[in-house]
């Protein structure tokens, strides 16, 4: 079969809503785009452990400490599922990790912002995980089987992540004046970076159309961003918090919240590596990797010796 007719058949399968599995034929570009997208997603989970991990040892109650630790641990697990899914496309974890550690791969820019107070932990759960859920619920219907299955698992496990965050946001908003001030300050700092998580406007997002055509995504960046805003503005108002956007206004006709323009200079700056924490995040990941090298080697060497011994014995 010619490449064109294979591609046509592939597109038909996608349009019929069929799931693509690792051993199936797929266009090279589909595979490449998926590797890029999925490994970025995996990196985001792993780098995303750091900002919240920053507060585990300082959590203000045992309950919160256990919740936070298990949440950050979940993120490691989600990174692992996603690396696994990426491996089905022939990209080993070793390779994609190298790309991250050498600065060739990206991860979500949101994690290049610092967590300055405990309230940031609450707001990350509420806003950042809230945004992630919207994105991931869509990706759970993605055309690539391993990706969509990883997403289903992640969505299931993540259902408590946003809830614990919003619970804490509500408590602090209803708390002492200091707590109220702390939580509003965190919302002020995280709102805009969270909106940026959905990526550039549709017209500036060259990958989007292609990913939608291939059934990897089913909604555009702007559509996803809008549903995030609609939901979270209401949740903010429900607990008496203000959204730091003077242009925010409800449109009765469209039944959507209209919001101000994102500072795209800031967005591109952080993407290019000039965010407040880019360098530190990468340094931390590299250090963990370097410090783990002797451990990984030791375990492999032990396994090799054991195998040799077994072979000798038999």
């Amino acid at each position: 079969m010619s490449k064109e007719s294979k591609a046509q058949e592939f597109q038909e399968r996608i349009d019929n809503g069929e799931t693509i599995e690792p051993k199936d034929w797929m266009p090279e570009r589909y595979q490449k785009q998926l590797i890029r997208m999925m490994s970025q997603h995996a990196h985001s989970e792993v780098v995303g452990m750091l900002p919240e991990g920053n507060w585990i040892t300082r959590a203000p109650s045992l309950r919160r400490k256990m919740i936070l630790l298990s949440k950050v641990q979940d993120e490691a697990g989600h990174g692992l599922y996603l690396y696994s899914a990426t491996e089905t496309l022939g990209a080993s974890r070793q390779e994609v990790l190298d790309d991250l550690l050498n600065g060739r791969a990206k991860y979500s820019s949101i994690f290049n912002y610092p967590t300055l107070s405990w309230a940031d932990v609450a707001v990350i759960g509420w806003l950042v995980d809230g945004a992630a859920i919207i994105n991931q619920t869509m990706l759970a219907r993605s055309s690539y089987g391993p990706y969509s299955r990883a997403m289903v698992r992640i969505c299931k496990e993540e259902s408590f992540h946003k809830k614990q965050g919003y619970e804490m946001v509500a408590q602090m908003a209803d708390g002492t004046p200091e707590q109220q001030e702390m939580i509003q300050d965190a919302v002020d700092r995280w709102w805009w970076p969270t909106l940026m998580m959905f990526g550039p406007h549709d017209e500036d997002s060259p990958n989007s159309a292609e990913l939608i055509k291939w059934g990897v995504k089913s909604k555009t960046n702007d559509e996803l961003r809008q549903s995030f805003v609609d939901r979270h503005v209401q949740e903010a108002h429900a607990v008496g918090l203000e959204i730091p956007d003077p242009d925010l206004e409800y449109n009765e006709e469209t039944e959507h919240w209209e919001f101000g323009e994102i500072d795209w200079d800031e967005f591109w700056n952080v993407v290019r590596g000039n965010g407040p924490m880019n360098k530190e995040r990468m340094k931390t990941r590299r250090e963990a990797h370097e410090n783990g090298k002797w451990v990984r080697k030791a375990a492999e060497e032990y396994a090799r010796k054991q195998r040799l011994q077994k072979e000798k014995a038999s």
């Binding site: 051993k23 199936d24 034929w25 080697k297 492999e300 032990y302 396994a303 090799r304």
Partner: protein
């Protein structure tokens, strides 16, 4: 330990293992995902920590990924279609008198 051993200098993320978990006693094992591990014992431990964090399993199998043999997607037709013309393998093929269950 020989210094010349090539493996000594190579850093890896360990080999890949497929993980199958049994959700409950009496249920079959299902594919859960995979983990990296240097050997079988570590593969079991890692699988437990990764795929049974929420007590999702009562038993775990781990298999080196390169030991899995799978049929190809292209084979789907020739491999499985023949079963299509054997309707007698399915219970819907048979009509039997309906016996209604009597409740106590």
């Amino acid at each position: 330990m020989t210094k010349t051993d090539e493996k000594e200098s190579k850093d890896t993320q360990w080999p890949l293992w497929e993980v199958f978990t049994q959700p409950r006693d009496g249920k079959p094992h299902e594919h859960a995902g995979n983990v990296h591990a240097p050997d079988a014992e570590m593969a079991l431990e890692n699988a437990r920590d990764v795929y049974a964090r929420r007590k999702e399993a009562v038993n775990i199998w781990v298999v080196p990924s390169d030991q899995i043999v799978a049929s190809k997607g292209e084979d789907a037709g020739p491999f499985f279609d023949p079963a299509d013309d054997k309707p007698y393998r399915h219970p819907q093929f048979y009509s039997v008198p309906r016996v209604s269950k009597r409740r106590k």
